[in-house]
Subunit: 146 residues, 2 copies
């Protein structure tokens, strides 16, 4: 993949406030929900903050298959990453994503038992731009970025 395309993908991932996170329910139907685009490690790993009791978290605890989708509607650009979602409950991950004001969602703070971090690790993806699209294994993105 060429540098221009990688830059374009990075810019999309850095600028979008919301990510569309999908899981599979018990019957195998995809389930999608908008979540805040909070933090990431390169293009491979993405972190989300949510409730342990939420439907999506419960689904990921049974089936980690997931996709996350970044979209710039105005420019007809969409990045889909396919991979696995882990539910992290350790203090390190909780601290990493905690932000002032999160008490609205988790009244007991960082140690609120209903607060978890979802960690997504991409395996492959698709980048749609205009009328073109490009399918890739995540290694191709990471190697090109390094």
């Amino acid at each position: 993949m060429n540098k221009e395309l990688i830059d374009d993908i990075n810019s999309l991932v850095l600028n979008e406030k919301v990510v569309f996170v999908s899981s599979a329910n018990a019957e195998g139907y995809p389930n999608t929900k908008a979540m805040f685009n909070l933090q990431r490690d390169g293009l491979t790993t993405h972190y989300f903050s949510t409730n342990l009791s939420s439907k999506r978290t419960q689904q990921f605890m049974v089936n980690s298959k997931s996709c996350i989708y970044f979209c710039n509607q105005a420019e007809f650009k969409g990045l889909m990453l396919i991979g696995k979602m882990e539910v992290m409950t350790d203090r390190k991950h909780r601290e990493m994503l905690w932000a002032e004001g999160n008490e609205i969602y988790y009244p007991d703070g960082i140690d609120d038992t209903d607060y978890v971090v979802l960690k997504f690790t991409a395996e492959s993806g698709n980048y749609y731009y205009g009328l073109s699209n490009c399918t890739f294994k995540i290694d191709e993105l990471v190697t090109a970025t390094a």
Copy 2:
């Protein structure tokens, strides 16, 4: 479900230009893509125009399980509808969704063999608004709307 909530849902569905359409791939991973919000029959049935050769269409021909997601990011509102996606190739559906300028995507016009209509029929759903969310069977929406 109360009338105010139904009105809110209708307004979301009518105003959003883009819908996030999800399928399941052969390995059971959800796959999401933004598509134009073109036409619908109430809240139950939604139509999309796409290519027969596209990955998403090919997935729906094998596995019709789907969800579609409408999102107003500014107001923290999201409607997820879960149901089945059918791939329609008949002339009636093609004509219904055809619009001037579509020749960019389908050079041979309405009868372009690569042009198909995706017909989504909802079975159940979730409506997220602010910090609340409401799960429903599609009959509850339809009955309340009638």
